[in-house]
């Protein structure tokens, strides 16, 4: 086959992927960028070019800044514990093959449940008067908080529900990663005088580090984009306490019909996530060991 034919075949094989990516990812993104430069009337029948004023309005809006902080707060409360917890759970399961089969399924179950159902479940659990969570807390003689109604507790409460939902997904990745850590390396370390914790810290974790990076990036991106739980559990409240950037965007786009501003928010969200991810990669550069 000639070189020319190879080239044609290459493009042909790439075409479906490029087409889907182009139609559903690149074009809409460019469209958002374009729309963010306009102002629309309420019925979206007329648009006027306004330059960067949608962006400057965002930067001058205290509510928008608050949604940015709420987002960081939520991401930190969701992604960090879920990665650490998943790593812990996976390590324990990896060391106990007997439980691994059953518990792997148990941890994966919430992932398979639809977000709406999961959120409903947590609404029942969190109910301040009849919820099971406060029932337990009160049985110890404390007063349970008004989980979803108290601005102080709303983020941790939504975060907890998200962690519960996502944990199994991360556990599966860590279990796969742990299974690929060669047994003889752990044995060599044990012979070299390392205890179980040192084996984990000096051998298992470094070898697992690409998986840790991957799971961290995915968890952070997921947390940034969380919508379902917030929408059902708190509708962004109380008093905007759980109005994240995504939730704010949703409201402006589909309830307030401020298409221009919402488009600008989408662009800002994209930039924030891009920066967040590159910070993670940068942090990882000297710490992740690819084989």
């Amino acid at each position: 086959m000639s070189r020319r034919n190879d080239l044609w075949l290459g493009w042909l094989l790439l075409f479906p992927t490029l087409f889907v990516l182009g139609m559903f990812t690149v074009l809409p993104a460019l469209e958002s960028l374009y729309l963010s430069l306009f102002d629309f009337n309420a019925f979206m029948t007329r648009k006027t070019f306004v330059g960067l004023s949608n962006y400057s309005m965002l930067l001058n809006s205290p509510e928008y800044w608050q949604s940015l902080w709420v987002t960081f707060y939520f991401v930190a409360f969701t992604a960090i514990p879920s990665v650490i917890l998943a790593l812990f759970v996976a390590s324990v399961l990896d060391a106990n093959p007997f439980f691994r089969g059953i518990l792997r399924t148990v941890f994966l179950l919430p992932v398979a449940v639809s977000s709406a159902m999961a959120a409903m479940l947590w609404i029942f659990l969190y109910n301040p008067t009849s919820g099971y969570l406060n029932f337990i807390i009160e049985s110890f003689g404390f007063n349970g908080p008004n989980w979803l109604g108290d601005p102080q507790w709303a983020i941790p409460a939504v975060a907890l529900a998200s962690i519960w939902k996502e944990l199994g997904f991360n556990v599966i990745f860590f279990l796969a990663g742990l299974a690929s850590v060669p047994t003889d390396l752990k044995e060599a370390a044990a012979l070299d005088g390392a205890g179980p914790v040192q084996v984990f810290r000096h051998v298992t974790l470094p070898i697992l580090s690409p998986t840790v990076l991957f799971v961290s990036v995915i968890s952070v991106l997921n947390a940034f984009q969380s919508f379902g739980q917030i929408h059902i559990l708190t509708i962004g409240g109380p008093a905007g306490a759980t109005t994240t950037m995504v939730y704010n965007l949703y409201r402006d786009a589909f309830q307030n019909f401020q298409t221009g501003s919402a488009s600008a928010q989408a662009v800002v969200l994209f930039i924030v996530m891009l920066v967040g991810t590159s910070i993670q990669f940068r942090f990882a550069r000297s710490r992740v060991h690819y084989r």
């Binding site: 003889d184 390396l185 044995e187 044990a190 012979l191 070299d192 205890g195 051998v203 060991h289």
Partner: protein, 342 residues
């Protein structure tokens, strides 16, 4: 340096009995090669000594200290793995430093020990490289270095040369011999390469299905095999066996069912002084340069004869097979060797 003793050690994985009961004493400073066919439990025995595997029963002693329940790191043993098991994310230097850091040695002592080992194993140039940047032979030396820095009482090797090519194997073999000469620590060395076992070991222990068939100096297990299994396992090509009833003109001890003789003692001719085994057709000729292996079918038995140089025999030739009376080994129905005088 320390002595080692397996006292009635047995090991089962589930209902699968791998080692039925091993008794073996290894003297301080001795180099013992553990040999046997694949799956006979060599690695399992070594791992039990290292503490990586718990015996189902019996005790293991290092220097008269019962270490059966003691964790690997407190046994004073190091191991060179077949896969080398170098830490891929650490440089050669850090690989060597790891056991010393775990032992909480001071920085200056760590440097000193690493330099010592690096000089001994010619690793000084490689200290800043990662394992992925090393050749097989270099990895092997780093693995040995990491096992040595801790100055272990007992050094364990599990087929350390099996991933090297033939030439390198010869070189590293002589390095290991020189090393043992120098550090004089007790070494237990698992291999299924006979040449390694014969050339390196003070004593060879032959395992069959987890049982010790014989343990003795290389020339003793070759010259006076205790069982038919040892006779067939030690020596390449393996010993020839024929039924005792096919042999005439030689005094066969009572109880003998099988008679063996080594390929190198096999003559492809007949004469008055030789014991005639029979005659057969040549089925395969393997020229190896300095010697040639000639395979024949004599009745139901296949016989290998080793001749010097490149002899004239061709495929399909019908030849007489005989050997010296003094080269015969006699075995009873249980596979035990019977003395010629008995």
């Amino acid at each position: 340096m320390a002595s080692v003793e397996f006292r009635n050690v047995n090991k089962a994985f589930g209902t699968n009995i791998i080692v039925p009961g091993l008794n073996l004493k290894i003297a301080s400073g001795e180099f013992v090669a553990l040999v046997g066919p694949s799956g006979c439990g060599k690695s399992t025995c070594l791992r039990m000594l290292a503490g990586l595997e718990q015996p189902t029963g019996g005790r293991i002693f290092i220097d008269d200290r019962d270490v059966t329940e003691i964790s690997p790191k407190n046994r004073g043993v190091s191991m060179v793995f077949q896969s080398y098991a170098l830490y891929p994310h650490m440089t050669v230097h850090d690989n060597l430093a790891f056991p010393l850091k775990m032992a909480k040695l001071g920085a200056s002592e760590i440097t000193e020990r690493i330099n010592e080992v690096a000089a001994m194993l010619d690793l000084s140039e490689l200290l800043l490289r990662k394992p992925a940047q090393l050749s097989g032979g270099q990895k092997q030396r780093v693995a040995m270095g990491r096992a040595l820095v801790r100055k272990p009482q007992v050094l364990l090797f599990d087929e350390p040369l099996s991933n090297l090519d033939a030439q390198l194997r010869v070189r590293v073999r002589s390095e290991i011999a020189a090393l043992h000469e120098r550090i004089k620590s007790t070494i237990v060395y698992v291999t299924h390469d006979q040449v390694e076992a014969m050339t390196l070991a003070d004593r060879i222990a032959i395992l069959n299905k987890g049982s010790l068939e014989q343990a003795g100096p290389p020339l003793e297990v070759y010259g006076l095999p205790r069982t038919r299994f040892v006779a067939s396992f030690i020596g390449t090509p393996p010993m020839n066996f024929v039924k005792a009833s096919t042999l005439h003109g030689v005094k066969i001890p009572s109880g003998t069912t099988t008679v063996g003789f080594r390929p190198e003692a096999t003559e492809l001719a007949s004469s008055g002084e030789l014991i005639r085994i029979g005659s057969g057709k040549v089925s395969l000729v393997e020229p190896l340069g300095s010697t040639t292996h000639i395979h024949l079918r004599v009745g139901d038995d296949s016989i290998i004869a080793e001749s010097r140089g490149t002899p004239a025999q061709r495929l399909g030739d019908e030849l007489a097979v005989s050997t010296q009376a003094s080269s015969l080994f006699f075995f009873d129905a249980n596979g035990n060797r019977v003395d010629a005088g008995a």
